[in-house]
């Protein structure tokens, strides 16, 4: 009995001591943070010593472990007899951004959850980094779920430390990466705040930091720009482009199709659980172009060969071609008529327009 009591006392003593120490440390760092904020507007340089300016915080994927980062073939999933995902196949290559676009409720989130092995597909096969997802592979994947979530009662830096540890990034490395990323999203002054004290948008940024903190090779973003202001949207886009330039594979899901056009290399368009369109962005746009050109010039002839209609948009006019004449033919005709052409542009549809067209045709 005496030994047990002795051991017990020791355990309790250690616990109490640790508690006091953590509290003390937090108080001190909070006070330090305030002092820095008051005396100098910019944080001291030592805080980002490890990642010198210009050097990327993300390691380059030099030798891809597999041909594709993601291979999904004929994946289906039903909930209560309703097909949510129906025979969807796609791949994601290294250094590539795949845009998964479609309206709300199309099955994007379910597809991503199946990629993450959070939901099992009813049929079909998913290979991540060349093989079916195993627990230890999760360390190389970053996932920003649509349902954002952080512990509300603990501080930003404690949250980051815990979630990084779960991805096997610990100790000094975790702290340094967290600080560097927080600095880049301008959240460093808030690191000792509890998450519940932050605004919604700030929480979003923290969540984004969590997703890329462990330098994943495959990153899956589900609606990353939802509820973000234009400045932070741009900030995140820069991050995504930087990740791509480091050879990472990226899946970007969104219902705001126009917002991601500039980011995506390839597009998987989903509607009602089915893949309605899948391919390179440029190729898709070429395939679905309206067969019209935008012309801005000093005068426009009444009729032109190969042009079946015209629609004025104010300063410029949209000319609809008959399908046999190419834009080049029209331009040649205009120049032959000595028209001063200020702008001549082959109209490419936005992803939104492509989507509407595909749905209408389907």
């Amino acid at each position: 009995m005496e030994t047990i009591v002795a051991v017990a006392v020791a355990v309790v003593a250690v616990v109490v001591l640790r508690l006091l120490l953590t509290r003390l440390r937090r108080e001190r760092s909070r006070r330090k943070g305030q002092a820095v904020g008051e005396s100098a507007p910019s944080p001291p340089e030592s805080e980002t010593a490890v990642f010198a300016s210009g050097e990327s915080i993300f390691a380059a994927v030099e030798r891809p472990p597999s041909e594709y980062a993601v291979e999904a073939s004929h994946v289906s999933k039903s909930f209560r007899d309703k097909k949510v995902v129906d025979d969807v196949s796609f791949t994601v290559g290294w250094g590539e951004v795949l845009g998964m676009v479609g309206p709300n409720g199309a099955g994007k989130t379910t597809t991503l959850r199946m990629l993450m092995d959070i939901i099992k597909p009813d049929s079909g096969e998913i290979r991540i980094l060349g093989e079916p997802l195993r627990e230890e592979m999760k360390n190389r994947i970053g996932y920003l779920p649509e349902e954002r979530g952080l512990y509300k009662k603990i501080t930003v830096s404690d949250s980051l430390r815990y979630l990084a540890a779960l991805k096997n990034v610990r100790g000094r490395l975790a702290n340094e990466r967290a600080e560097a990323l927080l600095k880049r999203v301008n959240m460093l002054p808030h690191k000792d705040k509890k998450v519940e004290e932050l605004s919604h948008g700030m929480g979003q940024l923290i969540q984004f930091v969590v997703t890329i903190l462990h330098d994943p090779d495959l990153v899956v973003f589900d609606e990353p720009f939802a509820a973000l202001d234009p400045v932070n949207t741009q900030l995140l886009k820069e991050f995504i482009l930087e990740l791509r330039s480091r050879g990472k594979a990226i899946v970007l899901s969104t219902h705001m199709m126009n917002q991601v056009e500039e980011l995506c290399d390839r597009v998987l368009m989903i509607n009602k659980g089915r893949a309605v369109l899948y391919g390179g962005l440029a190729e898709i746009k070429a395939r679905y172009r309206n067969n019209s050109v935008f012309v801005e010039c000093d005068r426009l002839p009444e009729s032109l060969p190969g042009v079946v209609g015209a629609k004025s948009h104010g300063r410029y006019t949209e000319l609809f071609l008959d399908g046999r004449a190419s834009p080049q033919d029209v331009l040649r005709t205009l120049l032959g008529l000595n028209v001063v052409v200020e702008r001549f542009e082959v109209s490419t549809p936005s992803l939104n327009e492509v989507f509407l067209q595909v749905v209408k045709e389907g």
Binding site: V12, I118, I141, R148, N168
Partner: protein, 404 residues
């Protein structure tokens, strides 16, 4: 470090830093010592330091009582008449006076006159009066030894034999019976309280939507096991604080509460109690985590925790039956049924009523149930942690768990 350990550490520190946890942990020791303080105060106040020697007057109309006037704590003073005795009483030179009538030997009647409100003799005085009367009645008629036996006829010593007629290894059941009661109470306390924490932790993660982030890093089993063990460790810290309280309390209070001093806790019993405690805790924790993840809110959770705690508490209600009929079918059944096993086994072990095979079998069943419950709960955790808002029907629960 294994991811389960990371979850464990996180949950542990989260729990012990929780304000309500700290308050709860310190409340019991504070209450215990506060209670003891009040008890002491009341004792002191209601029995003001009584004068060591009490003077009691008596008027003897039989002429038989003139010796042995000095008894422990009481001196008897003879008065010639009742008037004299009454004057002495009113002058407060004596506490009370007794009148022994001339027909005392046939009737046994003695009248006590007193100023105090309680008409009954205080126990100490009554003993002294009895000894005074007895000594005088028997003086010269029997030997001093017989006189002493007449005053103290019995000094009992009990020896408990086991079924084989051998002297049983443990003689005092009452004191060792105390151990399972304490453990049983602590066990029930701790599953009640930590079930609250578990529900809170699981439902909070659901409400925070943090679950999906976690599941993209760890498996649902790692998460659940880490959670249960982490909160279990926190619960253990709490129990240890309480046990130390009990130990210190017994040491401090045994001086004034004699029963507590008699408590001795055999090490082997303590060891088994700890094993049953930990396995039992894990079983209930896994059960609660599973229920919590299926979609019960924290409030519904309290209802569930009461339902599950009933079988844990039941053996305490039956404890008298268990002690008197430790070999009965009911006692055996309760030992093997996992939800009642911990407390039942603690009670039966304390009276050495469990054979080795019974211990082995009940522990095996308990451990298997822990593993099974953990497994099912992890499944439920995985399936239902992403379902927000709606609570599934029982049939759906079963189907999803089978399918996942």
């Amino acid at each position: 470090m294994h991811k389960t350990l990371i979850v464990l550490r996180h949950e542990f520190w989260l729990a012990v830093r929780n304000r309500s946890f700290i308050i709860l942990t310190l409340a019991l020791p504070l209450l215990a010592f506060l209670g003891f303080g009040i008890y002491e105060g009341v004792q002191h106040w209601s029995h003001p330091a009584a004068p060591q020697e009490v003077q009691i007057g008596y008027v003897d109309q039989t002429g038989m009582f003139d010796e042995y006037t000095a008894q422990t704590g009481v001196t008897f003073v003879l008065y010639g008449t009742e008037e004299q005795a009454k004057d002495a009483l009113l002058a407060k030179t004596i506490e009370d006076y007794l009148v022994i009538p001339s027909d005392y030997v046939t009737t046994g009647l003695i009248t006590r006159y007193t100023l105090s409100r309680d008409v009954e003799f205080p126990a100490v005085t009554a003993g002294a009066v009895k000894d005074f009367l007895l000594s005088n009645l028997l003086a010269g008629q029997v030997s001093p030894q017989v006189l002493e036996r007449a005053e103290t006829p019995m000094l009992p010593v009990s020896v408990r034999l086991d079924k084989a007629g051998e002297i049983a290894p443990q003689q005092d059941i009452a004191s060792s019976y105390f151990v399972p009661i304490i453990f049983g109470m602590l066990f029930i306390f701790s599953i009640f309280f930590s079930s609250g924490f578990l529900f809170q932790s699981v439902t909070e993660e659901k409400e925070n939507r943090v679950m999906e982030v976690l599941l993209s890093s760890v498996s649902s089993t790692q998460l659940l096991v880490g959670k249960v063990l982490g909160l279990g460790a926190a619960g253990l810290v709490q129990i240890v604080v309480w046990l130390i309280t009990v130990k210190v309390f017994v040491a401090v209070a045994s001086g004034s509460i004699p029963l507590l001093g008699a408590i001795s806790i055999p090490a082997s019993l303590l060891g088994w109690c700890i094993v049953y405690f930990i396995l039992g805790y894990l079983l209930f924790a896994a059960l609660y985590a599973g229920v919590g993840s299926i979609g019960a809110t924290a409030r519904e959770g309290q209802g569930w925790s009461t339902i599950f705690a009933l079988p844990a508490v039941a053996p305490l209600y039956f404890s008298y039956f268990l002690v008197t009929n430790p070999e009965s079918a009911l006692a055996r059944g309760l030992t093997f049924f996992p939800l009642t096993a911990p407390v039942t086994a603690m009670v039966r072990l304390s009276i050495h009523a469990m054979s080795a095979w019974e211990i082995a079998l009940s522990l095996a069943i308990l451990a298997a149930s822990v593993a099974l419950t953990m497994w099912v709960s992890a499944k439920a955790f995985r399936v239902f942690s992403l379902m927000y808002g709606k609570r599934p029907a029982v049939r759906e629960v079963l189907r999803y768990i089978r399918e996942s």
